[in-house]
């Protein structure tokens, strides 16, 4: 019988009560006394020399308080990059400055030039129209390979070229990899594009800056996944405000998917301007503005090759990827195509030799950074499309080829620098096959054919590295931050528990699942545990939520702090029952002395901690509050097998998803319902990438897909009912809960399943010339591919 509370129970999401009844408190719901509004005048050209910004007429407009331009930020820091990648030759990446407001040049459509602060949003926007810009338009570089040609215009004049870095991984393996290819019995090659995506969180970004001249305190309310990271980056690198004078609050946040990790110009601006004008400054992004100011995701162009021996064993993998950075380095941009991508190129397979080359390129486009999966979907897509293509070329079953090459013994050290602690890839594949009735496919395909449709089946595996990340390791790899997590557990006198976590929930349901863990450990009702997050003023320094890290790292910190609480509580209980600490047991909220009938309740102990009349004051401090920081000693490695069936309309190229099945191994699961929901949402985003979504620029750098009229988001009727399963469990060996994380799996595992299925359908329909179609597989692209 499923559990009805605690770890493993599908407890209903407590936060949904406020979200679904309109009682959430999002950043845009925050309105401060005397608040002003900022409108950003943004570049409408992709590349240009900013000769002059004449604000004189605009300053005289009604309601205008002050207009800021790049000049106002000359003594202020630029937006920092949080990760330095070292190239193949041991040199640091090229790292251009990223001013808050454009200085000297504009480098993408949407680059902010001036910020108009006014009494109302309309007045700010009116004044923006009165600003006279003198921009000398320059040729834009949009295509990455063209950007690397010697005569290409430079995005940043002070850099030697548009190449940010040329990264080789593992560089020392390159010779051996080339040798393996020379000896291979078969080589499969695939060239593909991982399409650029706009994150499109339901809540657009918002920032409210506030300053108190009486205390010299600054506060930023912002739509962030990691308020402490923003406080550190903005305080230390941009504005020069120490942490104790800067508070960052990320209240209810309506989805992030990575796009709200980064420190953005608008946040720094509102904080800076509030101090300048001594009034709160608010910015609310419109959806149109989000398309040109939120960091985009993906945008890789890759050639990947697989060498196989005569028995179809994988011998080596070699890749060359061009990764678009956009016009500036967003906060974690350099790490995505490298350490979050190259390290995953082994996938689920025991390929002994791997070499990954990544050229990161500046272009006159919106900056690109992490988006749900961040590097891992790109790795998985390449690999799983490649293995499928190899199976087709070799005439072997794609499942059999995968199984033959699965890693089956753990721990397993890959040739790309990571060590998988646990996994059972055959188990998830077996589970998947029980879900999809593969034997019945031919009958379903015949039925589709009778209706004039081509049916295809796509199967793939995935692995990801989550629980980001061991600080010492990432420090060696170039991270300019640690990646631990923190929790403070505060027990109140009457037994209620408040957990202040450095993780941040923006849709993940932490307020429910984190409470389940603590309630389970102590044996109290979940309702007795409250989770607090999102405010640097009342939570310990934390690194926030991304990379499927919250339960694995934040949850572990919370477990460690709760263990400290239990240890101390046992000492208090021992005192109350005049027993030895070591004889105290805690179960269902009761402390007992082993082998006796003595017991005290949780509430008796917590009351004693705060009313210490009968208390071992000479040995123990009063109170019951503990903090723990947890730094993982490895990544976690969720993995699974996905399958989908599609129908292709041969007359129009339209792809219809008929079914989708996901068998995941997330390690131990805290709340199965929430985990299923995470997989559902992830698959929806994967479907979006595979079939619908594409950020498209013209050759001048104008964004063609700048609204929902042209950027296709997945809708409910684009999706089939999913089958999701997470009953295959190989617990993580190195964190206390044995958890691996589940937030990104759906978005990582689903695109190759869909594309594999479409290619399968076309081949079954006789169109064997179609080796690959680049995402999104729109009707027009599929039809064009069918024409040959």
């Amino acid at each position: 019988m499923p559990k009805d509370h605690g770890i493993g129970a599908s407890s209903k999401r407590r936060e949904d009560v406020r979200f679904l009844t309109g009682r959430g408190r999002y950043t845009d719901d925050i309105n401060l006394y005397g608040q002003t509004y900022v409108h950003f005048l943004r570049s409408d050209v992709a590349h240009g020399r900013l000769n002059a910004v004449d604000t004189s007429a605009a300053e005289a407009m009604p309601g205008v308080i002050r207009i800021f331009t790049g000049k106002d930020f000359e003594g202020v820091g630029g937006l920092p990059c949080g990760w330095q990648v070292t190239d193949r030759h041991g040199q640091p990446m090229q790292e251009p400055p990223h001013p808050v407001l454009a200085q000297g040049k504009v480098r993408h459509v949407g680059d902010p030039i001036a910020a108009i602060v006014a009494e109302t949003p309309a007045q700010a926007r009116n004044a923006a129209e009165a600003i006279v810009l003198d921009i000398e338009e320059l040729p834009a570089v949009i295509d990455m390979k063209q950007a690397l040609s010697p005569d290409a215009p430079k995005v940043h004049d002070d850099l030697t070229s548009n190449l940010c870095y040329d990264w080789g991984f593992v560089e020392d393996n390159k010779g051996a990899v080339d040798e393996a290819f020379a000896k291979a019995a078969h080589v499969t090659t695939l060239e593909l594009v991982n399409n650029r995506l706009a994150p499109n969180a339901m809540e657009p970004r918002v920032a409210v800056g506030d300053y108190n001249p009486g205390t010299d305190d600054s506060t930023l309310y912002t739509t962030s996944q990691n308020p402490h990271v923003i406080r550190l980056l903005m305080g230390a690198f941009v504005l020069g405000i120490p942490e104790h004078k800067l508070r960052v609050v990320a209240p209810d946040v309506g989805g992030g998917f990575g796009s709200k990790i980064f420190h953005y110009a608008e946040e720094a601006f509102c904080t800076f301007a509030a101090k300048q004008i001594k009034r709160p400054v608010k910015w609310t992004s419109s959806r149109s503005e989000a398309f040109i100011s939120d960091a985009h995701g993906r945008d890789h162009v890759t050639k990947i090759e697989l060498a196989l021996d005569g028995d179809n064993n994988f011998m080596a993998i070699r890749t060359e990827t061009y990764a678009n950075m956009g016009a500036y380095l967003s906060t974690f941009a350099p790490s995505i195509p490298t350490w979050l991508h190259g390290t995953l190129m082994a996938g689920n397979y025991k390929t002994p030799l791997i070499y990954v080359n990544v050229k990161a390129v500046f272009t006159n486009t919106v900056p690109v950074d992490a988006y749900r999966g961040a590097g891992r979907p790109e790795a998985t897509f390449q690999l799983e499309r490649l293995v499928d293509k190899a199976a087709r070329e070799l005439g072997v079953d794609p499942v059999d080829l995968r199984r033959q090459n699965f890693i089956t013994t753990f721990p397993y050290a890959t040739p790309v620098a990571v060590e998988y602690d646990t996994g059972d890839y055959n188990a998830t594949m077996d589970q998947l096959l029980t879900m999809i009735d593969r034997d019945g496919f031919d009958a379903r395909a015949a039925k589709s054919k009778a209706e004039g449709k081509l049916r295809g089946l796509g199967i793939n595996c995935y692995i990801e590295a989550c629980g980001i990340a061991p600080s010492a390791l990432v420090g060696q790899l170039g991270a300019r931050a640690g990646l631990y997590e923190s929790a403070t557990v505060r027990v109140n006198a009457t037994g209620g528990i408040v957990v202040m976590t450095g993780s941040h929930s923006h849709g993940q349901g932490h307020e429910t699942s984190f409470a389940q863990v603590v309630a389970d450990m102590i044996g109290v009702p979940e309702a007795q545990v409250e989770i607090v997050h999102g405010d640097t003023a009342n939570t310990p320094m934390g690194m926030g939520t991304y990379g499927s890290r919250s339960i694995a790292v934040g949850g572990s910190a919370m477990v460690r702090a709760t263990e400290k609480i239990i240890n101390k509580a046992k000492k208090i209980a021992a005192h109350l029952m005049e027993a030895s600490d070591s004889d105290i047991e805690l179960k269902d909220g009761q402390f007992t002395v082993a082998g006796t009938d003595k017991s005290v309740a949780w509430g008796d102990v917590t009351l004693a901690a705060y009313v210490p009349h009968n208390y071992p004051l000479t040995e123990l401090e009063p109170g019951l509050e503990e903090t723990a920081f947890y730094d993982p000693n490895n990544f976690t490695y969720p993995a699974g097998a996905y399958a989908c069936e599609v129908e292709v309309d041969p007359e129009t190229g339209k792809v219809t998803l008929c079914s989708f099945a996901a068998a995941d191994d997330f390690g131990n699961v805290i709340n199965p319902m929430i985990v299923s929901g995470q997989v559902h949402g992830g698959i929806a985003q994967g479907v979006g990438q595979a079939l619908l979504e594409n950020v498209s620029y013209d050759e001048n750098g104008q964004l063609l897909s700048a609204s929902y009229m042209d950027y296709a988001m997945p809708r409910a009727d684009d999706l089939p009912f999913y089958q999701v399963d997470h009953s295959c469990v190989t617990p993580c060996t190195h964190n206390p809960l044995g958890v691996k994380g589940c937030g990104e799996a759906g978005a990582i595992g689903s695109p190759p399943a869909i594309v594999n299925a479409v290619i399968d359908a076309l081949h079954r329909g006789g169109m064997t010339h179609v080796g690959h179609i680049n995402m999104p597989l729109t009707p027009a692209r599929v039809w064009a591919a069918m024409q040959g």
């Binding site: 926007r125 129209e129 149109s288 007359e651 129009t652 339209k654 079939l691 619908l692 594409n694 498209s696 063609l704 897909s705 929902y708 009229m709 042209d710 950027y711 296709a712 988001m713 729109t778 009707p779 027009a780 039809w783 064009a784």
Partner: protein, 263 residues
């Protein structure tokens, strides 16, 4: 959005008078105009709402059997009230946009705007409808004059659209994945004196009649009659959602499907 004046007359005469002011703009359901104004791409001085004029709202059948739809009738009302009298038209109306769009957008607004990807122009042209205005009757064949261009004069209001009811008809829309407007939409209607085929979404010149298909189908109203045709030529739109070649191909496919569905 810039500031503007707003008026909501109750009669056609008052609406015409209000539209005679400088910088006045008629407002139907606002499904195109209001987003345009929010983007600050349009800034009318006065918006004259046509949505409170009782004689411009509703669906009826006149003495000669035409389905008559008031210019300010919403798509949702057409979907409901024309279902018995002109099912193909009602079905078309029921698939425009989403419920919010269908309960605000009007047939007059759609035809006056003449978006090259809108559905109603295909129905009006495909049915040989009559566009009635406060000044005159305009045959659909004379009304549509290119992308966003119509025969309407400044201040002229579509008061009613009259559709002769065909023996058979069907509209097939292949949606653009993002906007779900017609990437290609084909309206086929079989009348006693011949077949009309009107195509929306495909051409940069807006809705058009596909003469070759009309001739073939007038001789033989079957899907096979379409299959023998070459894809239509003309100024097909090429954009990030589909090439001109693809659109031309879809015109043929959708025409065939419309014929098959018309029965």
């Amino acid at each position: 959005m810039y500031n503007f004046e707003f008026t909501k007359p109750a009669t056609i005469a008052d609406a015409v008078a209000a539209l005679g002011q400088d910088d006045a703009q008629a407002l139907g359901g606002g499904q195109t105009l209001l987003p345009t104004m929010k983007q600050r791409l349009a800034s009318p001085g006065t918006l004259v709402s046509l949505n409170a004029i009782p004689e411009m709202i509703g669906v009826c059948v006149n003495d000669v059997g035409e389905v008559c739809i008031g210019g300010a009738t919403t798509h949702a009302v057409v979907a409901r009230e024309a279902a018995a009298s002109y099912p193909a038209l009602a079905a078309l109306a029921s698939h425009i946009g989403d419920p919010a769009v269908r309960n605000r957008g009007t047939i007059g607004g759609s035809l006056a705007n003449n978006d090259p990807s809108a559905c109603y122009p295909a129905a009006a042209l495909g049915s040989g409808a009559t566009i009635k205005t406060n000044l005159r009757d305009i045959a659909a064949d004379d009304y549509f004059q290119g992308m966003f261009e119509t025969a309407l004069e400044d201040g002229e209001i579509i008061t009613e659209v009259r559709f002769p009811v065909p023996h058979k008809a069907n509209y097939q829309k292949f949606v653009q994945p993002a906007s779900r407007f017609a990437l290609v939409g084909v309206f086929v209607a079989k009348y006693a004196d011949g077949v009309r085929v009107a195509v929306t979404g495909a051409s940069s010149e807006g809705v058009f009649r596909w003469a070759e298909a009309e001739a073939a189908l007038s001789a033989n109203f079957s899907k096979s009659a379409v299959e023998g045709l070459a894809a239509p030529e003309g100024a097909m739109i090429s954009d990030l959602h589909g090439t001109a070649e693809y659109r031309a191909h879809l015109v043929k496919v959708m025409t065939g499907r419309a014929v098959a569905a018309a029965g």
